[in-house]
Symmetry: C2
Subunit: 118 residues, 2 copies
């Protein structure tokens, strides 16, 4: 048997359940993608950026001002959010306006807030 997985005694009571669960598991890759997605929401700076974009598109320096953080810090995080396709942007002269990429972001954050307020 696999050396890496210690296990309860042979003929273990819960084995059938393990089989069932194992069969219904999504692909490893999907679950990793899911973790990557939630990782985006797992940092307070990024949560704040996303929340701030709920109401309006904003430029980098506006966000920095709202969160009282440096332009650089915000820009780095926007890059990450952009890669995760959670925000999109639009250039207008020197200014770059960011906004939520889709409505799921709003839904996911609101769902989390609901969970907290119970």
């Amino acid at each position: 048997m696999d050396e890496k997985t210690p296990h309860c005694a042979e003929g273990h009571v819960h084995e059938p359940i393990v089989e069932t669960v194992n069969a219904s598991m999504p692909d490893e890759e999907i679950l990793c993608d899911l973790a990557e997605l939630y990782k985006m929401f797992g940092d307070s700076t990024r949560i704040k950026i996303l929340y701030v974009l709920f109401e309006a598109e904003l430029c980098v320096c506006d966000i920095a001002e709202l969160l009282n953080m440096t332009q650089s810090a915000i820009s780095h995080q926007l890059r990450v959010l952009k890669q995760a396709k959670l925000v999109k942007f639009r250039r207008d002269g020197k200014t770059v306006f960011y906004s939520l990429a889709d409505d799921h972001v709003r839904t996911i954050i609101n769902m989390g807030l609901e969970h907290l307020c119970e």
Copy 2:
């Protein structure tokens, strides 16, 4: 003005919007709690543990076997999930059975999966 926040030129076009957004921001603490919550879902091991508990309560070694990881690694993560109140447990002799603490966990994970599959 605040030294830490660089800002666009004085009399900036988007200032009114900034005011509005600022007024509607939830407390710092709530957004931090929200980030803490999502941090739990932001690791593939924890996501897998939670997913595996969708169908049935399982003991630590069953989970370890399912995920092909060590008992120790799983136990450490279960501790974290327990602290976040995402799982609960029940002792039966030597065995400890873990299960999802509430239905929100299922909902949140499913919502993320939906977002990925579009």
